[in-house]
Amino acid sequence: MSGAAPDRCDVEEDARSPIARLDPRTRLLATIGFVGSVLALDSLALRIAALAVAGGLILLARLPLVGLRHRLFHVEGFLLLLLAFLPFTTPGAPLFAIGPFAASEAGLLHAVTLAVTINACTLAVFGLLGGLQPVQLGHAAARLGAPPKLVHLFLFLVRYVGLFRSEAERLLDAMRARGFVPRSTRHGWRSLGNLAGMLLVRSLERAERVDEAMRCRGFSGRLPLLPGSRFGQADLAFGAAALVLLAATLVADRLA
């Protein structure tokens, strides 16, 4: 079970798609611009258009679609609940009724808008940032002026969360080998509580070792940033196109 997790500390993406050729900073800014603009739109038609554009970004990024399926199917329970309830909880002219509950047109429209918006944003984040290695994202955020300490926190998390995850799997394997079955019993919970505690003890010990090793090598609180990401012509073209498209959409939305 352990060991199968991909190494999340790669600094390069493997896919050479048009999106992957862009500077991570351009992609980060474009994503934020896209999501912010979609949320500002009043017109449902334009939000649907945004969904189509986000779908296009995914094709452009040439990412394995397995990851996308996971994302789209991972609709949290509460979201389904929200969408299912909206038509019935919004006052308005009744459209159809299930038993005593009448669904309003306004409510149905609201639910559709919500579903379109959430999917447009999810697709855009996946298309523009999905292929990026987390380390690249951290360095891009640092270059864009994110607080260095926050970036450190992010980079350490990227490095160690996978490591401790395999550690947890190893400990669980060891427990299973001794006949442990996680069940809702006092023993089951106590064992899992001890497992959680043990993981924290190990992470503190690991943290102290890493801390010493870093100070040994003269760590002064600054991590060098990755070279190689450069704002080029492709970024200029993509950035300008995104800017014009988003501005035009927002203007069209206000005029409509």
Binding site: H74, H152, L153, F156, A196, V201
Partner: protein
């Protein structure tokens, strides 16, 4: 569970959550220097690994939020730790959203930090079993507060969300139970095995007081 995606909440709620998370993050980062940051960051990774373990509650199982335990161990640093954790999840797995990072951070981390500020001094003096009991209470209450925060964020965004928000609040009950029990046993374990771990985040308070 508490990962609200982009597009659901209203602008004032997003801005409000963003401001709360930004203030909490700024306070926590001011307390960290280059000597303490690697340790805090690696501990944060440990918490996220724990939250990936499925815990059985009755017939189903839940993934813990770990906010109470995190607050008790690393204190206010839990806020930026949760923030970067949510960013990683949003980009890597598509859980949660970008514009909701602030609201989600505030909902998940703030209850744990505030409750831990109340519980940590008592737990530091209590024997292992009572510390476990108090820790469990701290963990369960922070999940309840997280559920309340999610429901509140929805209800404030749109009045038509209110009925769903009430049901969502009810879905937090199994998580509350699982989180309370596991946090309690973990605290009792730490109290016996490595008590100094329990006051990393709150040591400066003891020094001041």
């Amino acid at each position: 569970m508490a990962h609200i995606p982009d597009g659901v909440l209203s602008m004032p709620v997003l801005v409000g959550g963003g401001i709360v998370a930004a203030i909490g993050t700024a306070i926590a980062l001011r307390r960290l220097d280059e000597r303490t940051i690697p340790r805090a960051a690696i501990m944060a990774a440990g918490f996220f690994a724990v939250s990936l373990v499925a815990v059985p509650v009755g017939p189903s199982s839940v993934h813990l939020l770990m906010a109470g335990l995190m607050g008790l161990v690393i204190g206010v640093v839990a806020i930026p730790a949760v923030l970067v954790g949510l960013l990683l999840q949003a980009v890597l797995f598509g859980f949660g959203g970008l514009t909701t990072l602030g609201v989600n951070t505030a909902n998940i981390a703030l209850p744990g930090v505030l409750l831990a500020a109340l519980f940590a001094p008592v737990i530091a003096r209590a024997p292992a079993n009572r510390a476990g009991l108090l820790g469990g209470l701290c963990g369960a209450l922070s999940v309840a507060a997280t559920g309340g925060g999610v429901a509140l964020a929805l209800a404030l965004s749109d009045s038509t969300y209110v009925p769903s928000a009430k049901i969502i609040l009810a879905t937090y009950v199994p998580l509350m139970i699982g989180e309370g029990i596991i946090t309690g046993f973990a605290i009792a374990f730490l109290k016996r095995v490595k008590p100094e771990l329990l006051d990393i985040g709150w040591r400066h308070r003891a020094a001041e007081g």
